[in-house]
């Protein structure tokens, strides 16, 4: 459990941040919000670097801030990757890593080799810092933060300069680490896909205030305007009911519906979460024959909303009590005579992503 009830900002500054939130003690919380919303300020406050910070920060029972009494930054055991990572110029890459390794919470138990391999740092170890590319810097900074064996990871757009292929390796690793070690992660990102993939909760900041906080489902559901437009989608809780090994697919059930999703190490009975992006959902009046779309969910239209794109509407469908979003053209709405209360079939392209349950609900 991370208890945040803090204010940052001096009376002389125009900007102030006020955050009240209880963040689960493990899993990833995305900190999301427009540029200048106060995301970095929040992370700095938690790391113990913000000036004019007051309130309460309690991390797994340890009070890091209590009124004006603050535990100094170096005793907070955070792993903080800043927005533009600072590496120590006077050390080479391996020196930067060892710097953190020597100060790890439990020296000797670190995963130096594992992290070097994960971030592909082997060829860079002897490099001077000023001979690194932007992405290489970010990778070193991430490995360094993890080597310190933090109790809490603070990641400020940590993969913005990392290519997609490596990002796809790194993010699941952090995810796994966060889960195995019960390590909570505060993750700032502008990439909604990333948030959807990685986060258990979203803390939405706007102008220094919390504009929304809750599970990804909740926040994605309620804050559908603006930023979330493209990523609008739904998350449903489901149970694995079958594994189709030859096709690398798993069947999951929720309410009275079933879905096929690409499987990756699930067992029958696992509780999973399935993310369904609105853009991946089409609507039909009846289940079509002979198409590659193999997931058809029967439901009833709860509402039809406009989106920021003039051609597109968002249709909210109630599937056995859970809401699924579909993004379709207004013309389709008209030609299919879609209207609230009408029964429809939501066609979900199989590719929607599934994930093992975070500890939020545990």
């Amino acid at each position: 459990m991370i208890e945040l009830a803090l204010r940052v900002g001096s009376p002389t500054q125009a900007f102030s941040l006020a955050v009240n939130a209880e963040i689960p003690g493990s899993g990833t919380t995305a900190v999301f919000g427009p540029s200048g919303a106060g995301k970095t300020t929040l992370l700095r406050a938690v790391a113990g670097l913000a000036q004019h910070c007051s309130g309460r920060i309690v991390v797994s029972g340890e009070a890091w801030l209590e009124g004006k009494r603050a535990v100094p930054a170096h005793q907070r055991a955070v792993g903080y990757v800043t927005q533009t990572p600072l590496l120590f110029d006077h050390l080479d890459v391996v020196g930067n890593l060892r710097f953190a390794q020597r100060r790890a919470r439990e020296p000797g138990t670190d995963r130096f080799d594992e992290l070097v391999a994960l971030f592909d740092l082997e060829p860079l170890l002897a490099r001077r810092i000023d001979a690194l590319s932007g992405g290489e810097r970010q990778r070193v900074a991430m490995a360094r933060a993890l080597l310190r064996q933090p109790r809490l990871l603070l990641l400020d757009e940590p993969v913005s300069a990392i290519d997609a292929a490596r990002r796809d390796e790194v993010l699941p690793y952090i995810d796994a680490l966060a889960r195995q070690a019960g390590l909570p992660v505060l993750y700032v990102s502008h990439d909604i896909d990333e948030v959807v993939r990685l986060a258990d909760q979203v803390l939405l900041l706007e102008a220094g205030r919390v504009a929304g906080y809750g599970t990804v489902t909740d926040v994605l559901g309620t804050h559908t305007a603006g930023q979330f437009a493209a990523a609008a989608g739904s998350v449903v809780d489901a149970t694995v009911t079958g594994i189709e090994s030859p096709w690398s697919l798993a069947t999951v059930a929720f309410s009275d519906a079933t879905l096929s999703v690409p499987a990756s190490g699930f067992d029958v009975g696992d509780r999973v979460r399935v993310r369904i992006l609105a853009r991946d959902v089409s609507l039909a009046l009846a289940v079509p024959e002979a198409t590659s779309i193999q997931n058809a969910l029967h439901g009833r239209i709860a509402a039809i909303e406009d989106t920021l794109e003039p051609a597109m509407a968002r249709v909210l469908i109630d599937v056995g009590g859970q809401t699924v979003l579909a993004r379709v053209t207004h013309r389709a709405v008209a030609s299919l005579s879609l209207a609230p209360g009408r029964d429809v079939v939501a066609l979900v392209k199989t590719a929607a992503l599934a994930r093992r349950h975070g500890s939020l609900s545990a």
Partner: protein, 230 residues
Amino acid sequence: MLGANDLAALWLTARLALVTTACLLVIGIPIAWWLAHTGSRWRAPIAALVAMPLVLPPTVIGFYLLLWLGPDGLVGGLTTAAGWGTLPFTFAGLVVASVIYSLPFVVQPIENAFRAMGRAPLETAATLGAGPWDRFFTVALPLSMPGVVTAAVLGFAHTVGEFGVVLMIGGNIPGVTQVASVRVYEQVESLDYLGAHALSLTLVGFSFLALLALYLLQGARGASAFAREG
């Protein structure tokens, strides 16, 4: 060319300059750190104060030091009470005087280096678990090396060349307080120009080689200063 007295003076100069430089760094670095980091309104006055030994002629400073460090002086009273006797005419006295006189050259470049470094490296070190002393020694100091080197060079060279203060406080005792600079002065005054040329050349030669070595060393590490930062 150089007599026994010259060699003794050179040796004493080397010792004095090294000891003084060490003391200067030990004293100057904390002052520079404080000046660079404090938000106190005493910052400006103290920064100005540190530069004051510069604006008085060395002999005059020497004269005032004689007053303060002597038996009637404030400091002299203290050192006598502590059983150390008085400082003038001792090697320790020379060191004290040289340190006071060269302090501004040491404090300012180091303060600049600390400022140029900014707070970010220290913050990063803190989040990596390094406490204040730890990050001072493993981050702040190495990153401020160019400033420290400059400070040491200026302090060292200035001590080698100093003679006004040293003359006053030292009493020109061969082997104890007669440093090379005083000796050259003496040679010039007594019209022993040949001796003065020889000793000057030796001083310049040695100092030049010492600094050259230092800069070459630093250059080997510091060539990076202008590598791309894109």
